[in-house]
């Protein structure tokens, strides 16, 4: 017989009390990172917007939509959606974001 998940024993205010400052700092880190990107010298010959930043902005939109399972949905957004093995491994590492992600606003403008 599977056991039930252990419920979070804390009240909502206790969760905020305990974790707010930590996550306030993380939001400021994220803001400062985006500011740093804007201040940096453009890369010669580079694309206007790095695919990782496009993905990150898409993730930030999910944070604010009020729907549950934000962490899962952000991981899904950043995941390669293909299903077949690739011909050969191009490298050993991973970038952290799927390079084919397009935000909903860009997809809305596509034809066919």
């Amino acid at each position: 017989m599977p056991s039930s998940p252990p419920k979070l024993p804390l009240s909502r205010s206790a969760v905020v009390d305990r974790y707010f400052l930590e996550h306030r700092a993380k939001v400021l880190d994220l803001a400062a990172f985006l500011d740093r990107v804007d201040r940096a010298k453009p890369t010669d010959g580079g694309s206007a917007d790095d695919f990782r930043l496009v993905s990150l902005r898409g993730a930030i939109m999910l944070l604010l939509d009020g729907e549950p399972e934000r962490a899962k949905r952000i991981l899904d957004l950043m995941s390669d959606p293909s299903t077949e093995p690739i011909a050969a491994a191009p490298m050993k590492g991973a970038t952290g974001a799927w390079d084919g992600f397009k935000p909903a606003s860009a997809r809305d403008g596509e034809n066919g």
């Binding site: 252990p6 024993p9 991981l75 950043m78 390669d80 093995p85 491994a89 050993k92 590492g93």
Partner: protein, 271 residues
């Protein structure tokens, strides 16, 4: 008292063994992995397997920690199938060692055809020698696709019982599917690239504690060999029952690993 069921102590100092013992670690398992560089010959793997089956158990025993291992060639070195198959040929001689629990950590890295071919060869090796399996799932954007490819490969192979296979490095987007398909699942606690102790505690609250464990996967990169006790502390701070904390950090790994008939937690310090 806890078990760290996935940690690469070959990359860690003896001080880490001491700290883990002081934090309550009584047993670990160390899967074979990529050392940060490609080994130049199968003999390099022979030496590595000797370290895993002889040197590390002695180092761990100094601090009263029972050391066990899993053997394989990691998917990061599987892009050359001829080389990988030469390494697979030397694994059976090490399966006789009392501290070897099975085949691992096998799986995929970039989800390539060659990686999949060598994964299937490992599954056959496990089936031929009646071994349990510890699975590595890919990193970051490759994880969800790779996790599904791996589970499909095991299903298509058709011999291995999912109850004798643990799929490691699950996160919020893969944990449910792994558990629903009958496998055990592991959450790796990394500072940046996998689960934090907080997110692991969240996942227990959302998906339950059955067939699910936590590990540090401490290695040569950014990682923390004390991540398991830190997650236990996070759960304790939230007010979870001691029985719940013990289940995910001791009882569950004990139940899964005891299927090997070789897992132990009763080593006396030798120093």
């Amino acid at each position: 008292m806890y078990i760290d069921p996935h940690v690469h102590m070959v990359s860690r100092t003896t001080d880490d063994y001491q700290r883990m013992a002081l934090a309550g670690c009584v047993a670990i398992t160390e899967p074979a992995f990529w050392a940060g560089y490609d080994r130049s010959s199968p003999q390099g793997f022979h030496d590595y397997f000797s370290v895993l089956t002889d040197t590390e158990p002695k180092r761990a025993a100094q601090y009263g920690i029972a050391h066990h291992t899993w053997l394989c060639i990691n998917p990061k070195e599987a892009e050359d199938p001829v080389f990988a198959r030469e390494v697979l040929e030397i694994i059976p001689e090490f399966l006789k060692c009392e501290s070897v629990l099975g085949i691992g950590e096998i799986g995929l890295n970039k989800n390539s055809r060659n990686e999949l071919e060598i994964l299937e060869a490992h599954l056959q090796l496990a089936a031929d020698h009646d071994q349990m399996v510890l699975v590595h799932t890919p990193h970051l954007e490759d994880k969800r696709k790779g996790t599904r490819l791996i589970m499909d490969a095991i299903k298509n192979h058709g011999v291995l019982d999912p109850n004798r296979v643990l799929i490691d490095h699950v996160e919020e987007h893969t944990v449910r599917e792994v558990l629903d398909r009958g496998y055990w699942a592991g959450m790796t606690l990394y500072p940046d690239t996998k689960c934090t102790p907080q997110r692991a505690a969240d996942i227990f609250e959302m998906h339950g504690t059955d067939r699910l464990w936590i590990n540090s996967a401490g290695d040569w990169g950014p990682s923390d060999p004390l991540a398991v006790p830190k997650c236990r502390d996070e759960m304790r701070r939230r007010g979870h029952l001691e029985a719940t904390i013990r289940k995910v950090s001791f009882d569950n790994p004990l139940e899964f690993l005891s299927q090997t008939g070789r897992f132990r937690t009763d080593v006396q310090p030798t120093r």
